[in-house]
Symmetry: C2
């Protein structure tokens, strides 16, 4: 007997998802294409779309239909049951928020992000502080409303949007283990690095058109389908769009191709995950990406685990050299690998190596917890940022451009997001280790530029699973155990202490 209540829920969430897809393309357009003068109108458009989606997502009928559907789940398969669970959870969260708060938040984020775009290059935190305060206040209000409904702390309630089921207590444990390991390890890694020849940086200029063509070549090799996606430019690189039309962005520097190229490969990892989500469950909650730590695990698996490995550089180095007609010692594979695995405490998170990256995340995690709880005010943010970076990595940025203005996240309303980067890095190490164990062709393939075996394993174990299970269950099913910091530590030891 068909569960008609369940079917009605599917129809409602299909509409919600389609409007979400439309908003996602508009968001990409805002960042990659839109002329500056269109910003105020775009903010209104996105706010209004979010209000409409909010109205659809909070319809009381959904609660009634979910209750009816739950009363008769015999005819539902595992995917449908998981979908129903997701629907219930999302509806509960959505109904915790009044519509005017959602609209005000969306509008505040658009306004703040727009001003941030010019404040960042000018290093002018004061220019955006007022707007950021509004974003923070509204974010706190949203977090409190969700926290009350879900019975969580304010931070965990915000975190749940990015990492379903994620908890501060678990993050504190994992980050604690990393903090206990990393400072000493960083010292050792830097010592070993100092004992080897310093990597030589290839000299540009590297024409942007050549950089783009090279990025697209590697994207295609990894499995990116340009019939279902694009590569463009934006100030802050991201992966947007929809599973059927994945839009990734990068930013180019004519003097240095390495940073943009790895950025492109990073976003390609995100893109392959989106594109590989189960097509049968398109536009249903169960068919969407699991959470940001798994999402980030896919970008970091491609960038950090694969593309900075020696087998990959053995294959890709000569292609880079040919693209830029490179000659001399800078273009030798050994040197390129040293360059791509160079450890160097620096200010910019997105350019950070994988050894110092967790420090950037831990800093932001602490600061956003303090700002949200009210233990710290925005007046103190630039100073606290600089003090924190000094304590963690021993360096102080010269301006807020390289400090608290560098990431779009807070300015765009993404609070409770940062921890997922480092959870993702650890998940990536654990998945890649198990993948290589499961199929020896994976590592052999990488040396030849053949990524089919790797992508087949990821498709089966990660991409195609959607939200059928939790991140922890997925990791356990794929690797035999939940998140284990030792695997990440071993990866770092193998790469940097060898």
């Amino acid at each position: 007997m068909p569960n008609t209540a369940y079917r009605q829920l599917e129809a409602r969430y299909r509409r919600i998802a389609l409007l979400g897809e439309a908003a996602s393309i508009l968001h990409w357009d805002t960042a990659a294409i839109m002329p500056g003068g269109g910003a105020p109108a775009r903010a209104e458009q996105l706010a209004e779309m979010r209000a409409v989606v909010h109205g659809l997502s909070t319809a009381p009928e959904i609660g009634d239909l979910a209750a009816d559907a739950e009363a008769d789940t015999d005819g539902l398969d595992d995917w449908q049951r998981a979908n129903l669970g997701e629907i219930k959870h999302q509806w509960t969260k959505a109904t915790a928020l009044p519509e005017d708060l959602v609209v005000a938040h969306s509008r505040a984020c658009s306004a703040c992000e727009t001003v941030w775009r010019t404040a960042r290059p000018e290093g002018d935190f004061g220019a955006v502080q007022g707007l950021l305060q509004t974003v923070l206040d509204l974010t706190r209000e949203i977090g409190q409303a969700k926290a009350e409904t879900l019975g969580l702390s304010l931070y965990d309630a915000l975190l749940d949007d990015y990492e379903p089921g994620g908890r501060t207590a678990e993050i504190d444990r994992v980050f604690g283990e990393l903090e206990a390991f990393l400072p000493e390890f960083l010292g050792e890694a830097l010592d070993i690095q100092a004992s080897k020849p310093a990597p030589v940086t290839p000299e540009g200029p590297f024409p942007i058109a050549t950089q783009k063509a090279l990025g697209e070549k590697f994207m295609a090799a990894l499995g990116f389908d340009f019939n279902h996606g694009r590569l463009d430019v934006s100030l802050h690189p991201f992966c947007g769009g929809t599973p059927d039309d994945v839009r990734i962005t990068t930013r180019y520097d004519e003097a240095d191709f390495t940073s943009s190229l790895m950025g492109v490969l990073h976003e390609t990892g995100h893109a392959l995950y989106e594109r590989g989500l189960p097509e049968r469950w398109r536009r249903q909650p169960v068919g969407s990406a699991l959470g940001m730590s798994v999402h980030e695990s896919q970008s970091l698996l491609v960038e950090m685990q694969v593309c900075r490995s020696r087998p990959f550089i053995d294959w890709a180095g000569p292609i880079m050299t040919e693209a830029f007609s490179g000659t001399g010692p800078a273009w030798e594979t050994e040197n390129l690998h040293r360059l791509y695995t160079q450890v160097k405490p620096d200010f910019i998170r997105v350019d950070a190596d994988e050894v110092t990256y967790p420090a950037h995340v831990i800093l932001r995690y602490r600061l956003e917890k303090a700002l949200l709880s009210g233990d710290m005010s925005l007046d103190d943010l630039p100073g606290a940022w600089n003090d924190g970076l000094k304590a963690l990595l021993g360096i102080v940025p010269a301006s807020d451009r390289e400090g608290c203005l560098q990431d779009v996240h807070w300015y765009d309303g993404a609070w409770g997001y940062f921890p997922t980067y480092t959870l993702g890095a650890m998940t990536a190490a654990q998945l890649f280790a198990s993948a290589k164990e499961a199929d020896v062709d994976i590592e052999v393939g990488i040396t030849k530029g053949n990524f089919h075996p790797l992508m087949a394993w990821l498709g089966e174990n990660v991409h195609g699973k959607g939200r059928l299970m939790s991140a922890s269950e997925l990791l356990t099913q794929a690797t035999g155990r939940p998140l284990d910091t030792d695997v990440f530590k071993n990866h770092l030891k193998n790469r940097y202490l060898a």
Copy 2:
């Protein structure tokens, strides 16, 4: 005392307009940016957005609020009263259609337009005929529903979406006057043209980047604000986006810059109208463009009246010559002007000169009336097209690529649209004649590349009026009389028989 019912209507239409703006950007994205594989998902997104807009536009509360607002219009000014009238008219039309018909139509148009994109270059009408049949059937169904509600004929009901208040009877009269005039006039114009030296075509290749830069230079001179708009590429040139972010497109041919350049100037005329709509009435029905004949009058005023005139070529010719480093007789101003006012019966409407253009429109107008009424079937369209063009211009296209596949309109669901092109050409002639009479600086300015006087007159008499009055009232207010074919005829005589 405030008219609260009216205010509530404004809030509702603001939401409808914002979702429309979002859909407009998605439509531009589909044509200019989207990878092919994204098409099916995009069709679903747009269909769903239209369904949501349809739901908002047909809310029974609007009828009630409009009745309340109409009962107490003392506190409303002229703009508000006109807005209320537009709201009432739009709601009446929208409620004539069931939602599933709107969704089915939107989806059918997206599917058909997508297949048309490949069928057109291949000249394969059969590949798209089935999808076009679906579009036609659903269009007819929509027309019938509207016709019944509005008390109009099926064709007039469809026409009303593009030309509010437009009627077949009036079009038949105007087109009749043109048909009585044009064949003989065309013969005379061709004879005079044959008595002069044949225009020499500049030889390419003309790099696309240079063409684009040149187009942007002229756009800027005309008043296009690149902080509120873009120029991109699409198969079928159009003006899309929103008044605060106007997106125009063109297509380039490396062997010939003249066609794309005039296309860009044409779309710039549309763009300046959109951008000049009254900001105070943004996102209200009264603040939107009046109708397609007035819209087309603005593109044709810029392209045909201004940019193909001798005063414009005197200024622009040397700039073109410099851009392409042109030398020789082809680049002399006299020759460029002859080239830009060349009369030549040809197959492609968008490339047609202004003397033969009405024939293209009259052909399409007759064919779409016959297809909608059922007097003709799609099986007969390619043949009827070729027969019709032969009768009107004495030429027969070699393939459907240059015949019934050339325009996106029918494939994208725009039936009842074509007549507005020729109504627009006549309106343009009439407006420009009055503008030059009203301010002598307008023509002087054009010779110097100064378009401020012209744009000031258009802003005051056309752009800034929105939908405050009907097209006929606007024309009468601006020029002293309603549409008069004699003004268009005089323009043609002055330009081609001199």
